[in-house]
Every structure is written in structure tokens, then in C-alpha cells.
């Protein structure tokens, strides 16, 4: 198809689609006035039943826990798939690239920054069900800490703090916690992924039953998975650099 033909097809299709969707959206309740019994139920379940101050965390890790479990495994699949798609004999390639790190200002920032970011990440993960935050958000912050090591240091330093087996083990542990808990509650007579631990006192870290466990597992899995994906891409970058240098010399 010519480019012109494609644009015609696109304009016809998108035009119709967007127009119809916009008119359909006009049939929605006015912005700000959608009353959802589901939302009220979720908030009540979070605060009154599970004593989780952050109702979003209660929905993510309890009421709709199965969605989150599957989504953890999607992340796991992505990390595995990235490794599969970028595979080749790169390990040796990457080691040979020039790797001298960045300037002193960045190094200084990194040294101070990495510690602070790790603490922030752990805090966000730990308090995920008490205040805004949670396993995902905190996990990504922790992965950023690893990225900071690379930015402020050298590629080799980064690889030293991110050993493949440790990351893979941590990621597997984080995702395995979900079906393990599910089968456990199933075996003990409750439903799969039922929240069987005591709810504790709302607003404190000791609350919300199994939510803190799943939250922590998620934080672990997300941090490891994103770091692994980062490792894959960086390895590819340095292998490319090495190949470029060899091409020149």
C-alpha cells in the first residue's frame, strides 16, 4: 500500500473510531459524579476489614490480588523475554569495551545519592499499605538506585553489585511468593490468596494481614526484574561499543 493509501485508511478509521468513542463517552455520568458501589465496598473492605490505610493497596494486593499476581508474572516474563531476545555471546564482548565512568560531580552525587535512594525505596515499599506507595513504586525506586551506581561509577562496578544469579533468585522468590501463598491458603481450606493473617491496627506497619507480605514480595520482584532488564540493555550497549571500537582499530 502506498503511504497515501495508508493515510486515507487511517484517517477514515481513526476518524470514525474517535468520533464514536467521544459521543459514547457523553453517555457516561458527568466527570466527577460516577458513583460506584464497588469503590465504596473497596474502601470499606480496606479500612474496616483489613485495617489497611491505603485502600488502593488493599485492592491491588487483596480484593483483586489475582490481577496483581498475574501482572507480577508478566513482569517476570518480560525480564525473561528480554534476556532471550538480546542473547548472544555478549558477556565477553561487553567486558572489552572502554569503561571509564563519568565526571567527578556525577560520581560525588552518586555516592551520596545511592544510599539515600535505597533508603527511600525501602521506605516506600515498607509503608505501601499505610500511605501512598507500595511494592511497585518502591521497587522501581530501588532499581533506580542500581542505575545510579552505573551512572555514577563504571559499568564494571555496576555489574559487581548486580550479580545475575542473585537478581534472578530474588526475582523468582518475589514472584513465587504469590502462587505459594495462594496454594497455601487453598490447602488450609480458604480460597486461593485469601487474606488469612490478622488485620492488626490500622495505620501501623503491623496491619492488613497478608498484604505486607505480598507487598514486600512485589517490591523484591519489581526491583530485581527492572534491574535485570537494565543489565540486559546495558550489556548490549557495551557489547555494541566494544564491537565499534574493534571495528575502528
Amino acid at each position: 500500500m502506498t503511504r497515501a493509501g495508508r493515510v486515507v485508511l487511517l484517517v477514515l478509521g481513526l476518524g470514525g473510531l474517535l468520533a464514536l468513542l467521544a459521543i459514547a463517552a457523553a453517555d457516561l455520568p458527568a466527570f466527577g459524579s460516577v458513583h460506584s458501589a464497588y469503590a465504596a465496598f473497596a474502601r470499606h473492605a480496606a479500612y474496616a476489614d483489613r485495617h489497611a490505610a491505603n485502600s488502593v493497596a488493599a485492592v491491588v494486593f487483596d480484593v483483586r490480588g489475582l490481577d496483581t499476581m498475574i501482572e507480577e508474572f508478566i513482569l517476570f516474563a518480560a525480564a525473561t523475554a528480554t534476556a532471550l531476545l538480546l542473547r548472544s555471546t555478549r558477556e565477553e564482548d561487553a567486558e572489552r569495551a572502554e569503561d571509564h565512568g563519568e565526571g567527578d560531580a556525577l560520581k560525588l552525587f552518586g555516592i551520596g545519592g545511592v544510599g539515600a535512594v535505597v533508603v527511600l525505596g525501602l521506605y516506600v515499599v515498607a509503608h505501601g499499605y499505610v500511605s501512598p506507595g507500595g511494592g511497585f513504586q518502591g521497587g522501581v525506586v530501588l532499581a533506580t538506585a542500581a542505575a545510579l551506581v552505573f551512572l555514577a561509577g563504571t559499568y564494571r562496578a555496576f555489574r559487581r553489585v548486580t550479580p545475575q544469579s542473585l537478581l534472578e533468585g530474588a526475582e523468582s522468590l518475589g514472584v513465587l511468593a504469590w502462587p505459594a501463598l495462594g496454594v497455601g491458603t487453598l490447602a488450609s481450606g480458604s480460597a486461593f490468596l485469601a487474606n488469612v493473617l490478622p488485620p492488626g491496627s490500622i495505620g501501623s506497619l503491623a496491619s492488613a494481614g497478608t498484604i505486607p507480605l505480598l507487598n514486600a514480595a512485589t517490591g523484591l520482584a519489581v526491583a530485581s526484574a527492572f534491574t535485570l532488564i537494565g543489565v540486559e540493555f546495558l550489556e548490549e550497549l557495551f557489547a555494541e561499543r566494544a564491537r565499534g571500537e574493534e571495528g575502528r582499530s
Binding site: V7, G13, L20, Y38, S172, L193
Partner: protein, 606 residues
């Protein structure tokens, strides 16, 4: 029995997670065995669920969040014999694919097995879920390992192109689904299909409801590969390794159609009650058109995997038309057809994988006559082709017979005739290929057929004589199951009973929202009439005839050839040109297709 339901999802996930941590350090055989055992467990548990839900479906609420005052806060699985049968099919095909992959994929271990297990979990969950957002999540879990596995051979141009098209188009489909979820949730405040259906059923549909359904249909038709959402499928399935194709073609595509059926019957059938004829007309038209167009494309291919890819897309159109008849017999027939067809397509793809490995090529023309010394492969290939061409008494034929009955009862007898035609044309392509490859019939070249760059699925050659036999044994086993399926006593009756229960919205609402158990399933005995046998045989005969025409096209009278060339030439050329391989074109077609689907629904269903 309730406790069994989460297991077909949880077990492959758990095994995949363990393999992720320790798979690299385990010997090859242990990884293979673990994966095959997990897939076998899924198959076994799902088969148990098929039998265990024969009386009434199982509604399982995850996290223990039971329905409460007419609201379903938790995520529910709705397990009935039909959806459990699809889950069993997924498990069985995964076992076959993993057996085939034994020793065939030395590198990238255990990543391949991990992704296959995650793919399996995604398919099972997608088949069983009763929650709209949960369907989206499982849709993604199915898609991501799938398109990564499609790109397995990163060193060849085809897989990269196929994987990109697959990934991008399926992700856009996911976005369409999220838009639909926003609309449905905004209107009903519910994500559970039965809950939403109860909320929608009170009033006639307005644009919001029809737009939401149109989006859901478009999204799932991308997955299924029905025209004009099918372009990615041809590229992806011809590029993916053969064992992956077994899964993609054998069950993943058809799950898209199943999801449309389920979403319609649980959530939209109530509000569409007085517009059923219009909805049926749109979906049947899409299905029949798609089936015929992709069947013709299938006939124009020389690359065996691409041919089977278009065959898969064609059958997806057939299945869409079948479920769109909206009667229990049609749904039952469609599921039986899907299962039998999935097994047959799986065995065909395994044969092609075998040919690729033994003869280093997968192109019908280049393989001319080279299969003469492979009688077992030839037999399986020919029988598989006949099975998909509706040869009695295989599974596909049985499904077709039930669908034909349903269509006849609605006065739509022309629909099964067209579906049979589509099956004949695509089946003819495969029979023609069989004749050329295994018997050396026909010419060595044919400009009518599109060829693709040569690719082989070479792995480190091992002098292991058992391997080819294992591959063919797996293919033969699948085909035997396709035959055995149809011989199960009382299968049609039980299938129709299960379908009637699945479509009984009032009973579903009572069961899910208020915990009132459904009345036990029952249906009168179903007889496959002589007429159906005749139709099935006629379809197979037509396929054989078309195959011969394909092989000996040049021996037809000159006048016939010239006229055919003048009449069919330009449309075929345009059709072929549309399949340009260019990602931007495919996305434009998707935009056009979804605009068209929404437009049709908006215009006719009000």
C-alpha cells in the same frame, strides 16, 4: 473440585518461577521433565474439571471475596465444560510442543520453557476468567511470552518482523480493551461479566454500550486474527518456531473467539436481547468474509507455515460466524470444532517442524518431491489436512455438524455452506502441498504462489535417531485425539447441555450474584444426520478437487485459464499487495477495522 480451579494457573506459574532461579544449573532433562510435568498436570486437572462441571458450572471467587448485595468485588472464574475443554486443549498442545522441543532447542535454556509455561498459564486463565479486567490481564500474559517466543530466531529477518507486528498490534488490542473497560465500569460500576450484565440488562443499548461491545469485539478479533485484524498473524505464525506455532494456532487464536462468546452471553446478551438479529448479522458477516478471504490467501502460499497461518485465520472467521449464531447447539459445535481443529492444526504444524528439521526447508515448491521417503510424515500430514477439511468422523466434522443443525434451525442454512467452502479452500492448500512434497505431483514452480525467504530450524545436529520419531509420534498422538474426541459417546449431547447452561443468563445471575445453584444441565440426545455426513464428505472431496486443480492448473483448457486470469487476477493481486509486511499498514487496517466494527454496531444496534 473448587480447590482444583486455581491450580491450572498456579502450577505452571510456580514451576516457571522456580526454573527462573535454578533452571540454569539443572541438567537439560530435568528442566524438560519439569515443564512437561507441569503441562501434563494442567491437562489432567482441566480434564477433571470438564467432567466435574458437567452438571453445573463452578464459580470460584479468588481471595475469598464472595458476592455481596448484588456486587461481585472479587475476581471470579467461571468453569464450565466448554471453557475447561479449551484449557485442556491448551495443556495437551503444550505437552506436545514441549515434547517436540526436547533436544530441539539447545540454546537459551531454560528461557524457552519458562516462557512456554507462562504462556500456558495465560491461556488457561483467559479461558476461565469471568472478570473483564482479569481477562485483559490474562490477555497480556498470553501475549507477551507469545511474541517473545515468535522472535526466538533473532538472527533472521522474518521473526523480528513477525514479533514486532505481533507485539505492537496485540498491545493496541489490549488498549482497546481498556477503553471498553472504562466505559463499562463507568456505566455499571462492575468488572465481573455477570454483574455488569445484570446492570446493563434493564435498558435497551445506547451508544456507550454498543461502543463498548464493539471495542471488545475488535480487541479479541485482533487476537483471533479475523479480517481486517489478521495481518500480523500471517507474519508472526510463519516466523515463529514450529512448537510455538502449535500453541499459537492450535488454541490461542481460538480463545479470542471464545472470549467474545463469553463476554456477549454474560454481559451483553441481556441488553442486546431485542437486537440479537442485528448483532448476529454483523458478526456472521465479519466471520464469513474473513474466513473466505484468508482461505484464498492460504491457497496462494508456498511457504507451509504461512499457509497454515492463513488457514488458522480462516478458521477463526469460521468460529466467529459459528458463535454468532447465538444458540446452544452452535456454541457447543464451535467448541467441539475448535478442539478437534486445534489438535489437527497442532499435528500439521509439528509435521512442518519435522520437515523443516529433516529437509531444511518449509517451502512447498522447493520441497517438491523431497518428502517421498517420509511415509509416516506424509500420512499424518494428509490425514490432518483431511480432518480440517471436515472429513467425518473427526472432531472438526462433528463440530460442523452441530453448527449446521443450529444454523438450519435459524433458517441460515447458507452460513454453514460458506463455512464449509472456506474449510475446503484452505484444506485444499494443505492437500496440494502434501501432494507436491510427499508425492512429487505437480510442477516444480508456480508463479501464483508467494514464496518467503528460506529459513530452516536447524539446531546442533545430534545423531539421535529417536528425535524424528518423537516429533512424529507427538503429531500422530494429537491427530489420534482429534479422532478419538469425536468417538466419545454422548459428546454432542453433553456439549449442547453445557452450552445451554452457559447461555442461560438468568440462571447465571442467580448463581453468581445470589448463590442459587443452577439447575442441572440437560439436553435431548443429538444425532448427527446422514445429511451432515454427506456435507462433510463433500467438503473433503471439494478440497481434494481444488488441490488437484492447484497442482495441475496448467493442464486446464486454455480458455478457462485465460478467463480465470482476467477475472481473478486483479483482485488477487490487490489482496496480495495488501499483505505488505509493513507495520504501519497493519496499524492503519486495525484503525479502519475497529472504526468499521464500531460504526456497524452504532448504526444497526440502537
Amino acid at each position: 473440585m473448587h480447590a482444583l480451579v486455581p491450580l491450572p494457573v498456579a502450577v505452571p506459574l510456580a514451576v516457571a518461577a522456580v526454573l527462573g532461579a535454578v533452571g540454569r544449573f539443572l541438567p537439560r532433562q530435568v528442566v524438560d521433565a519439569a515443564a512437561i510435568l507441569a503441562a501434563a498436570a494442567v491437562t489432567g486437572v482441566s480434564a477433571t474439571l470438564v467432567v466435574g462441571t458437567a452438571d453445573r458450572p463452578l464459580h470460584v471467587f479468588f481471595g475469598g471475596w464472595r458476592p455481596h448485595g448484588g456486587l461481585v468485588p472479587g475476581i471470579a472464574f467461571d468453569v464450565d465444560p466448554l471453557s475447561a475443554a479449551l484449557a485442556t486443549l491448551a495443556g495437551a498442545l503444550t505437552v506436545a510442543a514441549l515434547v517436540f522441543a526436547w533436544h530441539y532447542f539447545e540454546e537459551a535454556l531454560p528461557l524457552f520453557h519458562i516462557l512456554v509455561l507462562l504462556f500456558l498459564a495465560g491461556m488457561v486463565g483467559f479461558a476461565l476468567s469471568d472478570d473483564l479486567f482479569n481477562l485483559f490481564v490474562f490477555f497480556q500474559l498470553m501475549g507477551i511470552p507469545a511474541f517473545a517466543l515468535t522472535g526466538y530466531r533473532v538472527d533472521e529477518p522474518g521473526p523480528l518482523q513477525g514479533a514486532l507486528a505481533f507485539g505492537i498490534l496485540n498491545t493496541i488490542a489490549g488498549s482497546l480493551l481498556v477503553l471498553a473497560i472504562s466505559l463499562v465500569y463507568g456505566r455499571t460500576g462492575a468488572l465481573n461479566l455477570v454483574d455488569a450484565g445484570a446492570a446493563l440488562a434493564g435498558r435497551p443499548p445506547d451508544l456507550l454500550v454498543t461502543a463498548a461491545f464493539g471495542l471488545v469485539v475488535s480487541a479479541f478479533l485482533v487476537k483471533a486474527g479475523v479480517v481486517p485484524f489478521h495481518f500480523w498473524l500471517a507474519d508472526a505464525y510463519s516466523a515463529a518456531p514450529a512448537p510455538v506455532c502449535v500453541l499459537l494456532s492450535g488454541v490461542m487464536s481460538d480463545l479470542g473467539i471464545h472470549a467474545i462468546a463469553r463476554v456477549h452471553s454474560s454481559a451483553f446478551a441481556g441488553t442486546f436481547a431485542h437486537r440479537e438479529a442485528e448483532v448476529r448479522a454483523i458478526l456472521v458477516a465479519l466471520g464469513v468474509a474473513g474466513a473466505l478471504i484468508t482461505a484464498v490467501m492460504s491457497f496462494l502460499q508456498a511457504d507451509l507455515k504461512r499457509m497454515l497461518a492463513f488457514l488458522t485465520a480462516s478458521h477463526a472467521g469460521i468460529f466467529l460466524a459459528a458463535v454468532a449464531l447465538f444458540s446452544p447447539a452452535a456454541l457447543a459445535g464451535e467448541v467441539v470444532w475448535v478442539v478437534g481443529d486445534g489438535l489437527a492444526k497442532g499435528s500439521l504444524f509439528l509435521c512442518v517442524g519435522f520437515l523443516l528439521h529433516e529437509l531444511q526447508d518449509g517451502d512447498e515448491l522447493r520441497l517438491h518431491g523431497r518428502g517421498r521417503r517420509l511415509p509416516v510424515a506424509a500420512a499424518i500430514f494428509v490425514v490432518g489436512a483431511a480432518a480440517v477439511s471436515l472429513l467425518p468422523p473427526f472432531g472438526p466434522f462433528l463440530g460442523f455438524a452441530l453448527v449446521g443443525d443450529a444454523a438450519g434451525a435459524l433458517g441460515l442454512g447458507w452460513v454453514p455452506a460458506l463455512l464449509a467452502l472456506a474449510a475446503a479452500v484452505s484444506g485444499a492448500a494443505v492437500l496440494r502441498a502434501a501432494g507436491r512434497v510427499f508425492l512429487g505431483l505437480g510442477d516444480r514452480d508456480d508463479p501464483l504462489l508467494s514464496q518467503q525467504p528460506q529459513h530452516a530450524e536447524r539446531e546442533e545436529p545430534e545423531d539421535d535417531v529417536r528425535r524424528p520419531r518423537v516429533a512424529l509420534a507427538a503429531a500422530g498422538a494429537l491427530l489420534a485425539l482429534a479422532l478419538g474426541l469425536a468417538l466419545v459417546p454422548g459428546l454432542p449431547r453433553h456439549a449442547v447441555a453445557a452450552a445451554a447452561q452457559a447461555q442461560d443468563r438468568h440462571a447465571l445471575v442467580e448463581a453468581v450474584l445470589h448463590g442459587v445453584p443452577e439447575p442441572p444441565a440437560s439436553a435431548p440426545p443429538q444425532h448427527v444426520g446422514v445429511a451432515a455426513y454427506a456435507e462433510g464428505l463433500a467438503t473433503t472431496a471439494a478440497a481434494l478437487l481444488l488441490a488437484l486443480v492447484g497442482l495441475y492448473r496448467r493442464r486446464l483448457p486454455r480458455l478457462v485459464r485465460v478467463v480465470a486470469g482476467r477475472v481473478a487476477g486483479p483482485p488477487l493481486a490487490a489482496l496480495r499487495a495488501a499483505h505488505s509486511g509493513v507495520l504501519g499498514d497493519y496499524v492503519a487496517w486495525l484503525a479502519f477495522g475497529s472504526g468499521l466494527v464500531l460504526g456497524l454496531f452504532a448504526a444497526l444496534v440502537r
